[in-house]
Subunit: 323 residues, 2 copies
């Protein structure tokens, strides 16, 4: 009896591989190339076979696993949080950037440049414990809605990408997020939204310190950036956090270029994938001239490098997880 | 037939749990407390049961998983490497610390203090690719021998600790190294020596950069320290690299105090373990007054905190993996 149960469990586990693992992808050359790559590295008889321990797949987050318009969702969170904080204590608005952000004046905030954005992040992402920050971000994600779609942000993850993550894990891949976003913000939703646990989230890192707060051991978030996981920083973040070279990298902007370059330049079957935002009707259409998620070099050089360019409008049968 | 095979596999997988998983540990209260903790967090019927995904165990390396006398083995590697480099090009010896190190004058090197040691690390741990560094460290570990025992360094891992790592993994734990040593140096041997893959090694991090070297994408090690994973740094390193609070922490020096404090201060069954080096005959005996691996606060406060203090001489039936 025990043996039958074990066999039943094993059969159940084996079952999903028989169905189409990515029903939200249309049957285009794009989907075929991704599946062919996975088959090549997982078939023990294939010359390109890769051992499960080395099946490392890395995914950008903003614009790749969920949307990034009108601006990065983490910034929208920071603005909401700053406005709440300012309502309690207006004296925290000590700079032009903070005043503009609290007033919701995006043009004035943009005029303060990257330095202004870092002031907003610093003011809203420090001074509390890591646990309290993650809980606050999770609360925001559970209630806040997107200004354009009215969906909650976790509903604006891309259904085809969630399917790709699950398909890869079923095929023995470890799926990592490698994002320019903050590691603590992403960890507030990555397990529920993507099935990616905290230890497989690599992102930008704010300063933090281990302190006894009223005698209680606490990790406290501090102002200041310890590491920016973007562009040339992504291969560095992958090395520090994984220590293995990925065989599959998926991104959507030129901030992912070096991650795809690092991944696909090594020997053996390797795949780089870029999500091209071509779908103005169901989502957003942008590339070269976008202030957020600009994609130019990837479009120019990607095809010659053998990278797959996903045409969101043509290749995806469905976009939002939450629609 | 397929069902029978599956059942056979399942039975085989279950088998090792029936044998003593830690034969190199004598049947003392120390071993009993460790096993009782593992039983409490893995028994589904236990009030202290912890889901497999949260069974995070963190281990210091130097003095906990392998020896650290006469000095950290990574420093011995750095000295050998510096002497090789100086033989090729004596002009690299630009400071008193580098000259003393290349001459093997430990007293003169010690006189230059921590700054001198960082000069030696900087000179020997930069200017090559990450891959080349790891290959060089692996070559050294395969050939160099310890001045006292004549054993190769990987033979000076502790057999009882290797058994504990395997026992924990068999019980569904993820076993991480959280070391003040350099992450790239540890990755040169952690898989072979401990069964711990690169992505589960957290350590101090030197600066590095992603560059095209003769057109080839390369991660290059640079001088300078990006993060020191010691003392208060260990909980920070755990948060950055794992994002979950461990339930078991094992160390041997006061550099591990905060890691054990962070681990054992949370709710539920938690265990802190300190290896006390009491075995002058088979290994080394040292604690409070040792320049390397000093253990004082842990001995003073550990017992009241419920931490297990391992008496190496009394609790271990065997020490070196390589003996």
């Amino acid at each position: 009896m025990r043996h039958c149960l074990l066999a039943l469990v094993a059969t159940t586990i084996a079952w999903p591989a028989l169905a189409d693992p990515m029903p939200s992808w249309r049957d285009t050359d794009t989907k075929a190339r991704i599946v062919a790559f996975v088959d090549a590295v997982t078939d023990p008889a294939s010359p390109d076979h890769v051992a499960p321990a080395d099946r490392i797949a890395v995914f950008d987050n903003d614009g790749t696993l969920w949307a990034e318009k009108p601006v990065y969702f983490q910034l929208l969170y920071a603005l909401d949080r700053l406005q709440k904080m300012a309502a309690d204590d207006p004296s925290i608005l000590t700079t032009d950037a903070l005043k503009a952000a609290a007033a919701g004046d995006m043009q004035a905030l943009a005029a303060t440049g990257e330095h202004g954005l870092l002031e907003v992040i610093g003011a809203t992402h420090s001074g509390m414990s890591v646990d309290a920050f993650i809980a606050d971000a999770a609360d925001w994600l559970a209630t806040a809605t997107h200004p354009g779609t009215g969906l909650r942000y976790a509903q604006m993850t891309y259904a085809p990408m969630i399917e790709l993550l699950g398909y890869l894990r079923d095929e023995g891949f470890a799926t990592y997020i490698v994002s320019g976003g903050g590691v603590h913000f992403i960890r507030a939703f990555s397990q529920d939204a993507y099935g990616i646990p905290p230890e497989q989230v690599i992102g930008s890192v704010g300063e933090s310190a281990y302190e006894l707060v009223d005698g209680v051991p606490t990790l406290v978030k501090k102002p200041g950036i310890a590491f920016i996981d973007d562009k040339e920083g992504k291969p560095v973040g992958i090395d520090r956090g994984i220590g293995k070279r990925p065989i599959l990298a998926v991104g959507n902007s030129d901030g992912d270029f070096q991650m795809l370059e690092w991944t696909t330049a090594s020997a053996g079957a390797r795949l780089g994938v870029l999500i091209h935002h071509t779908d103005a009707d169901r989502a957003f259409a942008y590339d070269r001239d976008s202030a957020v998620g600009s994609l130019a070099r990837g479009l120019d050089e990607g095809p010659d490098r053998g990278w797959v360019i996903v045409d969101m409008k043509a290749d995806w049968d469905r976009v939002w997880t939450g629609e």
